[in-house]
Structure formats: structure tokens, C-alpha cells
């Protein structure tokens, strides 16, 4: 588990100090994946680097499994570092060592004896699906393979926490998939707590349990992805759910009610709306939206329009089934917003 409290970090810049982190607090529960998102310069890497003990924060505390990291030094610091695996934003493999040699580095640091080291390295190569690349040098690996070697290296000393900074930023969608699969297994099979920095919402969609949105060094949104998705107006929802913005107002003309509904975890999303219509004898049209998947959970957002006397009852019924219903103004006067 990672607990960050009130973290502040400034850098000297040309036009005065740059506040990279401005009182960041967040928590990554054990065995979950937190996605840290935000625009370029928001402070994502600085946050990851502070937790990785590569930057010393100006103020605030960082605890990993209860140990306060900020005050450590010497051997205690090195021991704490072994609990934290780091996949840096930039390519960081030793180019003069093979894939296996790179993965062995943390094991050398932990003074793991030779035979055990070999054994562990081959386990890790297998975990990231690169058993056949053990003696290949980084320059002969593809970007995705290099990234997986970096992940294997970060995991070598069996850390309880893994920090990955933009692990998929330079990769095509398919390779991104293979790297994300590895991170997912790291969480579910090894129980490692993962913090992944990304600007790609697809990463959040695929593997993250929690999300923290950073803006100008501040956390502006933080919570479970599935909770935030149904919170009206959340950034997470607008970024992850199917778009509705492009639906023109004209389309809602002539209906009695227009509403946006968000459904999370419905196995039979397709059946819900027709049933609502037939039960209440209303005419229901889909104006837009669609379905998607968050990790294993199906989620949907639709804009629907209803006509009929019992339109409100139908919406209420949908809401009672667990959907988040938000009324939209129609072009017909007198409807609730």
C-alpha cells in the first residue's frame, strides 16, 4: 500500500519556482492499480519519482507498507528501494547487458546468490513472455520487448510496489496490450500494488482500479474508476464513457423527456431499455452513446428520449435498476434539467 500525504515539490526555473507538486495526497490500496493521469507538465513523473525516492520532496510524507520513506538514508534507504520496483519514463536498460543481465541487476544489488539469481531471472522472463530473448541485447529488442524487460527488472527483487511511468507511451496498440497484460498479471497474480502514470485513457480503461487526475501539481479527482464513472460531470466519466457531446439539440425535439443514463456492470444492457419501454408503454429512442468495457466490467452511456404519459415513471424504473439517470432539457418547454 502506498500512502502519499501533502506532497510538495518545487523546482527552480527561469521565471521563478515551478511547483511540480502542490499538496498531493492519495492512497493506493494493496493489490490495486492506480492510474495517474493528467496533461503534460501536470507533475505525474515528479510524483512517481518522489515515491521512487529519486527526488526528495520539499514537504509531505510518503509511506509504503507503513514505512515512511522520506526520512530514510544509507542501508535503510537501499532496503526500502528494493521494496519499490520502478519502470522509468525513458528507456533505461543497460545497453551492454543482455535482457537477462538487466533483469539480474536488482538481484545483484540484493546479493542473491548465482544459481538462485539465474532461476529467478528465468521466472521473470517467462512472466513477461520473453523466455526466448534471455541473451538478447536491448538494441536488438523491439520497444515493447524492452519495456517488458524493464518491467521484469523492476519486479526482480519481488517488490511490494511497482511504479511505471508511461510504460506504453511509445507503443502501438497491440504492443500496449501486451505490456498492460503483464501489469495486470503483476497485480492479480503477484498481488503487487501498482502506480501507473499515463496520459492514455485506454490504460485506465484496461487495467486501473483507481484513478487520480493531476492538474498543475494538484489532485483534482481521485477515486475508484467504477465510482467516478457514474458520478455526473466527473472527468473520468467524460474521458472513459462513450461520447455524447456531438449529439445535436435538434435530435431531442418533440420528445417528452430526454435523459443521459450511465449503466455500470449490467450484463444485459441491451434488454433493460426495451423492457423499460414496454413496461410503461412509452416510446423510447436512443439518440446516441454506446457501450464499452472497463477492464472486465461492461459500462454504457446512452442519451435516450421518451414519449408517453409514463415517461417519468420509465426513467425512475431505469434508475431503480441501478443506472444513473440525468435529465436533459428538451426543446419542449417545461422539462426539468
Amino acid at each position: 500500500m502506498i500512502t502519499v500525504e501533502n506532497l510538495t515539490k518545487s523546482f527552480p526555473g527561469r521565471g521563478g519556482e515551478v511547483r511540480a507538486l502542490d499538496g498531493v495526497s492519495l492512497e493506493v490500496p494493496a493489490g490495486t492499480i492506480l492510474g495517474v493521469v493528467g496533461t503534460s507538465g501536470a507533475g505525474k513523473s515528479t510524483l512517481a519519482r518522489c515515491i521512487a525516492l529519486l527526488e526528495r520532496p520539499d514537504a509531505g510524507s510518503i509511506r509504503v507498507d507503513g514505512t515512511d520513506l522520506v526520512s530514510l538514508s544509507g542501508a535503510a534507504l537501499r532496503a526500502a528501494r528494493r521494496q519499490i520496483g520502478v519502470v522509468p519514463q525513458t528507456d533505461s536498460l543497460l545497453r551492454q547487458r543482455t535482457a537477462a543481465g538487466n533483469i539480474a541487476l536488482p538481484l545483484e544489488a540484493a546479493k542473491v546468490p548465482g544459481p538462485q539469481r539465474k532461476q529467478r531471472v528465468s521466472e521473470l522472463l517467462e512472466l513477461v513472455g520473453l523466455s526466448d530473448k534471455a541473451s538478447t541485447f536491448p538494441d536488438q529488442l523491439s520497444g515493447g520487448q524492452r519495456q517488458r524487460v524493464a518491467i521484469a527488472r523492476a519486479l526482480a527483487a519481488s517488490p511490494s510496489v511497482l511504479l511505471a511511468d508511461e510504460p506504453t507511451s511509445a507503443l502501438d496498440p497491440e504492443t500496449t496490450g501486451s505490456v498492460l497484460t503483464v501489469l495486470d498479471r503483476v497485480r492479480s497474480e503477484l498481488g503487487v500494488t501498482v502506480l501507473v502514470v499515463t496520459h492514455d485513457m485506454a490504460v485506465v480503461r484496461r487495467i486501473c482500479d483507481d484513478i487520480a487526475v493531476l492538474e498543475h501539481g494538484r489532485v483534482v479527482e481521485n477515486g475508484k474508476v467504477l465510482d467516478l464513472i457514474s458520478a455526473p460531470g466527473s472527468r473520468t466519466a467524460s474521458a472513459l464513457l462513450p461520447e455524447l457531446d456531438q449529439i445535436s439539440q435538434q435530435h431531442s425535439a418533440g420528445y417528452d423527456r430526454v435523459a443521459d443514463i450511465v449503466l455500470v456492470g449490467f450484463a444485459a444492457i441491451g434488454a433493460l431499455l426495451p423492457e423499460a419501454a414496454s413496461r410503461h408503454g412509452v416510446e423510447l429512442s436512443l439518440l446516441g452513446g454506446g457501450m464499452t468495457r472497463l477492464n472486465d466490467t461492461p459500462v454504457a452511456r446512452f442519451r435516450i428520449a421518451l414519449s408517453g404519459e409514463r415517461a417519468d415513471a420509465a426513467l425512475k424504473w431505469i434508475g431503480e435498476r441501478g443506472a444513473v439517470v440525468r435529465h436533459k432539457p428538451t426543446l419542449v418547454a417545461g422539462t426539468a434539467a
Binding site: L54, A79, A80, Q96, R97, A110, D139, A150
Partner: protein
């Protein structure tokens, strides 16, 4: 018109002085490596932003290395006479020349080592730091290892510089090819010996360059630009 030295004598002279040069250069290269490598590492790790920044130590080392590099070798040769005497027991001969050669080459190599280490990517070093490795381990297992091709090339450059410095060894009776060129070519206007010496020195330098290039490339695992 003077009679030129017969070819058979030229070859004898070249063989004899060639060995002297080889002896002086090889021996001082080994000592320069032993002294220059740690000094270069120290320069690198004590620098601001290095593994173990030490402003004062870094300044002192920088100063010493700069002075050592800027002194003309002949001056070093003479200035070090007392030191040479106390180490070798004499100030004359090839072995005596090894002392100033080594002292001259150490700062030269140290700078090259520092430059080679600086080329190692910061993110690679940071990644090593995050593994919880100790600093000596990072120096050995990461910095020196990643910089190995550049280090080999740097040693090659140092050896060639030593061949150049060793021409001055005649001043202390160290002999060598350079001394031969000065004695016969400059003092006796013997063009045959002069040119032969130049050719041998050139071949020698070329060979050193070739071997070290080969070594540097042989151990380099990075992708090469193939034109």
C-alpha cells in the same frame, strides 16, 4: 654530401629503439590505467549531479588534472627528476622515463574516462539506484560496464599520446624511436633514419589505433550505424 647510414644499421637501430619505445609505452600505459581510471571515476562521481557530489574534492581534482594536462611534457620530465630518482633509483634510462610518462598520461586518461562515464545515460544510472544497489556496485556494474567501449577507445588514445610523449624520453637517456629521429635526423641530417623512424612510429600508432578500435567495437553491444 654525407654518406647515409647503411640499411642494415638502420634496421638494427630501429629494432633496438623500437623495443625501448614499446617498453616505455606499454609500462607507462599500464600504470596510467591503474592511476587514471580511478581518478576519472572520482572526477565523475564527485561532480555536481554525480553519484556522490563533493564540490571541494571535485574542484581540487579538476585543478590537478588541468595542470597535469597543460604542462608540456619536457617540463614534467625535468620537474619530476627527484621523484623519478626516489622511485627508480636513477634518472637515466627507459625505466626512469616511465615515471614522467605515467604522470603525464594519468590526467590525460582521467579526462577521457570522465567523458566516457558522462555519456552513460542518467536514466540508466537512476534505474540502477532504484534497485537499491550500492554506489560501488553502480560504478562497477553499470557505469564502467556501460562505458566500456568508450573506455577502451580512450585507453587507445592515451597509448598513442604516450608514443608522442616518449619521443622526449631521450632527454633522460630513455632512448626510443623519437630519440633516434632527433639524434640522427635533426642532429646529423640523416634523412634515411629520420624517415624510417617516422614510418615505424606511424605504423605503430596506426596499429595501436586499429587494435583498440577493434576491441572497443568488439565489446560494444549497441546497434551500429551501417552506412
Amino acid at each position: 654530401m654525407r654518406t647515409e647510414t647503411p640499411w642494415s644499421t638502420v634496421f638494427e637501430l630501429l629494432a633496438e629503439t623500437g623495443w625501448e619505445t614499446l617498453y616505455m609505452v606499454a609500462l607507462s600505459a599500464v600504470f596510467a590505467f591503474i592511476g587514471g581510471l580511478p581518478l576519472g571515476v572520482l572526477l565523475h562521481v564527485t561532480a555536481p549531479g554525480g553519484l556522490r557530489p563533493q564540490v571541494f574534492t571535485h574542484r581540487v581534482l579538476n585543478f590537478v588534472v588541468d595542470v597535469g594536462r597543460s604542462l608540456p611534457f619536457v617540463i614534467l620530465l625535468i620537474a619530476l627528476l627527484p621523484v623519478t630518482r626516489s622511485i627508480v633509483g636513477t634518472t637515466l634510462g627507459s625505466t626512469a622515463a616511465v615515471v614522467p610518462l605515467t604522470v603525464g598520461a594519468i590526467p590525460f586518461l582521467a579526462r577521457l574516462v570522465e567523458g566516457a562515464l558522462r555519456e552513460v545515460d542518467t536514466s540508466v544510472v537512476e534505474a540502477a539506484i532504484t534497485t537499491g544497489a550500492t554506489k560501488p556496485h553502480i560504478v562497477r556494474g553499470v557505469l564502467l560496464r556501460e562505458a566500456a567501449p568508450a573506455l577502451v577507445a580512450g585507453i587507445g588514445v592515451t597509448v598513442i599520446a604516450l608514443i608522442g610523449y616518449s619521443a622526449m624520453a631521450g632527454v633522460v637517456g630513455g632512448g626510443g624511436l623519437g630519440d633516434l629521429a632527433i639524434r640522427y635526423g635533426y642532429q646529423r641530417f640523416d634523412t634515411r633514419v629520420l624517415i624510417s623512424t617516422v614510418v615505424v612510429l606511424g605504423v605503430f600508432a596506426r596499429l595501436v589505433q586499429f587494435l583498440f578500435d577493434l576491441g572497443a567495437r568488439g565489446i560494444d553491444r549497441r546497434r551500429r550505424v551501417t552506412a
